[in-house]
């Protein structure tokens, strides 16, 4: 009995993600703090924050409706489902719920929409502002994401992420192929935008002019806020994980054998932490873009993705 079932693997992914996420965030914040010459709150600070928030009672401001309490659960559900679906540890997937790209994306968007509605619910100027910006970015990101993965899916002939990753594990050449590179870079930018990192959004600011995500959750408190935070962290984990697995597929478990899974877990943990540090380090040297410059960035990434597709058609990435 040294193999897992598919549900088992998914469980591992979900639990693992839940456990790892705060650490990842902590590592990123700590790296950044150190590079900026601050002491930083330590790697486990996010853990403590979440525990504290879960303990505190949430406030319901007058005139706000059900979204205030519904959104956090919706968001975290969507994030968890995504974590379960995307191939983080292994490339196996349920028969009835394949990790189909479009399903994953729309589940993510469900969370996005919930957040945006929360922002409007508050009935304040900030909430609406954040919501509006958030949706604008999301709308502009979607083409990049779809087209990029479309490019990656062409050689494999399916839109199932696990199949794509598996294929890249099988044939390392495709990893360094121009198509692959273009697509991954494009996807990378999209992920940064989707998860609200610099240069698109600064997660650690509360400056009216710049904040997007924070503006929406401004009115939330207590466990509502906790779920919101965890939910958005999980998004980061899942998407970053997917990205690194597409970029550096090695170590991903293609079988369900215990050893393979363990190796996969170790691989993803290492990859994520390294990636996290890199992102954080990068953010130190990046300034946030003006909101109205963001479309240019996204357009750029979209062009890359588009080139990737046409390339894979015309230069022929025959399977």
């Amino acid at each position: 009995m040294n193999t897992l079932t598919v549900p088992g693997l998914l469980a591992v992914q979900v639990v693992g993600a839940l456990a790892l996420t705060p650490i990842l965030i902590g590592v990123m914040r700590q790296t950044r703090a150190r590079l900026e010459g601050r002491a930083g709150g330590g790697v486990t600070q996010p853990w403590r924050d979440v525990r504290k928030l879960l303990a505190k009672e949430p406030l319901q401001a007058a005139g706000t409706g059900p979204m205030l309490s519904a959104t956090p659960l919706l968001l975290i559900t969507s994030s968890l489902v995504v974590c379960a679906l995307v191939p983080l540890v292994g490339t196996a997937s349920l028969a009835t719920v394949p990790d189909d790209l479009f399903v994953v994306v729309s589940v993510l968007l469900l969370g996005t929409v919930a957040l945006a509605l929360l922002g409007l619910e508050s009935g304040t100027a900030f909430g609406g502002m954040g919501s509006s910006r958030h949706m604008t970015i999301a709308a502009l990101v979607e083409p990049t994401v779809l087209v990029a993965v479309y490019a990656l899916s062409i050689p494999v002939g399916t839109s199932a992420l696990s199949a794509i990753v598996a294929a890249r594990v099988q044939d390392p050449a495709s990893v360094v192929s121009p198509v692959g590179l273009l697509a991954v870079v494009a996807l990378g930018i999209a992920v940064l935008a989707e998860t609200g990192r610099l240069p698109v959004d600064n997660p650690s600011t509360h400056l009216e002019l710049t904040m997007v995500h924070e503006a929406m959750v401004l009115e939330s408190s207590g466990r509502d806020l906790a779920w919101l935070e965890v939910g958005s962290w999980l998004r980061l984990t899942a998407l970053l994980g997917l990205l690194v697995n597409l970029a550096i597929p090695w170590g991903v478990a293609t079988t369900l054998s215990l050893s393979a899974v363990l190796l996969g877990v170790a691989a993803i943990v290492v990859k994520l932490l390294v990636a996290g540090m890199l992102v954080a380090a990068g953010e130190v040297f990046l300034a946030k873009l003006r909101l109205f410059r963001v479309p240019e960035l996204l357009a750029g990434s979209f062009v890359l993705a588009f080139l990737a597709v046409t390339a894979s058609f015309l230069i022929g990435g025959a399977p």
């Binding site: 559900t77 409007l120 304040t124 919501s131 083409p143 779809l146 087209v147």
Partner: protein, 671 residues
């Protein structure tokens, strides 16, 4: 007499009943009687459609023994929907039934007058006869019946608002243009084949130039009805002005007759068309999808927003059709079938959610008298049912799980990314563009409907009218719930629906999997919403446990302000409005939308350094209408004015005309 013909006969009878009811019933109970009759008519249509859809014997139908009065060598009128027709008949019937029920409670004033209900009955009948017609003449008759009915309905409020008349003029002219184009197109086909029944035309297999001429003419006609860019201009004018149950029927069902027409032309009458037909269609459809949603995302008039989103959705539907044709041309049958199925799924799903959305908009109008999002808000508290149904429908429009919109768009994308462009340069260029535009459209749709729902129902009322909103009557709520149920139902059970629809267009390789999921072996993809929900429930369970535990320890606390800090609650006018919500987007697409902004700064009397108030107004108009249509209209009227000089009253000039004619004729004969 087969089931189908019985069904059609029933519809004719019921229509007559509805007419009688509308004209004879006393005003007090007119809406109930006539509405019920119309609903019955709709149901009859839906049932007939389903029967016809499930095959039966094609060609069987009600043969009306009218050899046309002309001793024409035309074949007799035949009302016999084929399977494709059945789909649209069922769709039109269902929408008609729901909207009629809604109308019982909603219709007031002119809309509830004799002519109002009579026109509604005529409109529904025409709409249901279009897909039933299976020869040119009866098709055109049904088409025009539909046009007349809708025009009269559009006029309901003509006495109150002058825009109604303007909108109707636009609608009438565009509709007539579409009819004339169809007449021309069919005339070409009839002239080629010498028969008027679709069977004859299809059997003759027209090809070559005349086929292309016919196709382009027909496409023009149907596109106008379907509201494709650039012939969409009537849509954003007509839909807002019509009574809401009428807008719902128009947008959800009537517009689809344009889609049906395209399918009729491309699949039944003129199969084996050259690739450029599909290319042309694809370009138009993509343009419509993008332009439509762009306009919708910046619109602040709720019904105008919905109208533009109709253009977008029709665009998507026809994208699917065009891709299907392209792939078929490239010999990629299996994927083409998937695309075709996607087209029908999109059609059905749009019918479902757009009905609810328009009915919801009607409920809002009914309750607050407002269509302008900037003056709405906080309706969720006062209109729970409407809020719920509108929300569900909005999810559908945004193509989010687990609604009909999601399933449909999923199938579409599957067919798109599996189209093989490796050995076909055209496909290699077109498919990525298509995917990109569809994706962008989906993204913008997301924003649009978050805006529509969030601004209208969440937050705090932006006007006293919105504050005093109230729920509509029972029939209105019932209709909306019915529609919302359809949206979710279709979303949960895409499998059987897709299979049935695929059956109807003879598309193979669409299978039901799992509980109600759909599987596309051709592109090995699979979608089982029920399973997805189960998964979500499983992962949610522990979270809920923790949540409840925490809730017991620290219950929710009601406060006046989340961020008190001694501050006071800001007035609702500080909230984001629909306009400001779309502002970033307007900036991003500044070139495409060309908004007109004007800022008036009025200074305080004391000093011009003190600003007393700043007015900011931003209008986004329809560029196509402004740049393309207005000049034409102006030019035509100019010609009319100029022509008046011909008839200047001088008998000498008149004699001159005759004289010239005489001389010319003499010259002509001598030469």
């Amino acid at each position: 007499m087969s089931g189908v013909s019985a069904g059609i006969a029933t519809q004719l009878v019921l229509a007559a009943v509805a007419l009688v009811a509308a004209t004879l019933a006393p005003a007090r109970m007119r809406s109930h009687v006539a509405g019920a009759a119309c609903a019955g008519l709709g149901v009859a249509g839906a049932v007939t459609g389903l029967v016809a859809m499930s095959g039966g014997n094609p060609g069987a139908g009600l043969q009306i023994p009218v050899t046309l009065p002309l001793g024409l060598p035309l074949e007799p009128l035949l009302l016999a929907p084929d399977r494709l027709g059945g789909v649209f008949l069922a769709l039109a019937g269902a929408v008609a039934a729901v909207t009629a029920v809604y109308g019982i409670g909603y219709a007031t004033g002119p809309a509830a007058s004799r002519s109002g209900w009579a026109a509604f009955a005529v409109f529904i009948l025409g709409m249901q006869l279009v897909p039933a017609a299976s020869d040119v003449v009866s098709f055109l008759v049904a088409w025009e019946t539909m046009a007349i009915g809708s025009t009269v309905l559009l006029l309901a409020d003509h006495g109150a608002r002058s825009e109604v008349v303007r909108a109707t003029q636009w609608y009438a002219v565009m509709t007539h243009a579409s009819f004339l184009l169809l007449l021309a197109g069919f005339a070409v086909l009839v002239a080629e084949t010498g028969g008027t029944s679709f069977a004859t035309i299809a059997a003759a297999g027209v090809s070559g130039t005349s086929a292309s001429v016919a196709f382009v003419l027909l496409l023009g006609g149907f596109a106008t009805k379907a509201g494709l860019v650039p012939v969409h201009v009537w849509l954003p004018r007509a839909h807002p002005e019509a009574p809401s149950h009428v807008s719902a029927a128009m947008s959800a069902a009537m517009v689809k007759m344009g889609v049906y027409g395209v399918l009729l032309a491309a699949l039944r009458l003129l199969p084996q068309g050259p690739a450029w037909w599909a290319g042309l269609l694809l370009v138009l459809a993509l343009a419509s999808a993008l332009y439509g949603i762009l306009q919708a995302s910046v619109a602040t008039d709720l019904k105008r927003l919905l109208a533009y989103s109709t253009t977008e959705n029709v665009g998507l539907i026809l994208v699917a059709v065009a891709v299907a044709l392209l792939l078929r041309g490239a010999g990629d049958e299996p994927v083409a079938d998937v695309a075709l199925t996607a087209a029908l799924l999109l059609t059905v799903s749009h019918a479902a959610f757009k009905t609810v959305l328009f009915l919801g908009a009607g409920a809002i109008l009914h309750a607050t008298g407002e269509r302008d999002l900037d003056r709405l808000g906080g309706l969720a508290a006062v209109m729970p049912t409407t809020s719920l149904t509108f929300g569900v429908a909005a999810l559908g429009a945004a193509a989010l799980p687990v609604t009909s919109g999601f399933a449909a768009e999923w199938v579409l994308l599957q067919s798109l990314i599996h189209g093989d462009g490796r050995d076909d340069v055209a496909l290699a260029i077109l498919l990525p563009i298509t995917v990109a535009i569809v994706a962008l459209t989906a993204g913008l749709a997301l924003l649009t409907f978050v805006k529509a729902y969030g601004i209208a129902f969440l937050a705090r009322p932006r006007s006293p009218a919105a504050e005093h909103g109230h729920e509509g009557g029972r029939s209105m709520r019932a209709a909306m719930l019915l529609g919302a149920a359809a949206v979710v139902g279709l979303g949960l059970a895409p499998g059987p629906v897709a299979a049935g629809l695929a059956e109807a267009v003879g598309a193979s390789g669409i299978e039901v999997v799992g509980v109600l999921g759909v599987s596309l072996p051709a592109v090995d993809a699979l979608l089982d919403p029920v399973a997805l929900i189960l998964l979500a429930a499983i992962v949610l369970a522990p979270v809920v446990v923790v949540h409840l535990a925490a809730a017991r320890r620290a219950p929710r606390r009601d406060v006046d302000l989340a961020w008190g800090c001694g501050g006071v609650r800001v007035s609702p006018r500080m909230q984001y409005t629909a306009t400001s919500y779309a502002e970033p987007l307007v900036r991003v697409f500044d070139d495409a939308l060309q908004p007109s902004r004007d800022v008036e700064v009025s200074h305080a009397d004391e000093s011009r350094y003190l600003v007393s108030q700043v007015r900011f107004r931003q209008r986004v108009t329809d560029l196509v209408a402004d740049r393309a249509y207005e000049p034409i209209v102006r030019a035509t009227l100019g010609i009319g004015e100029g022509a008046r000089r011909i008839q200047n009253g001088s008998i000498h000039r008149y004699l001159g005309f005759s004289f010239t004619a005489l001389v010319l004729v003499l010259l002509a004969v001598t030469w």
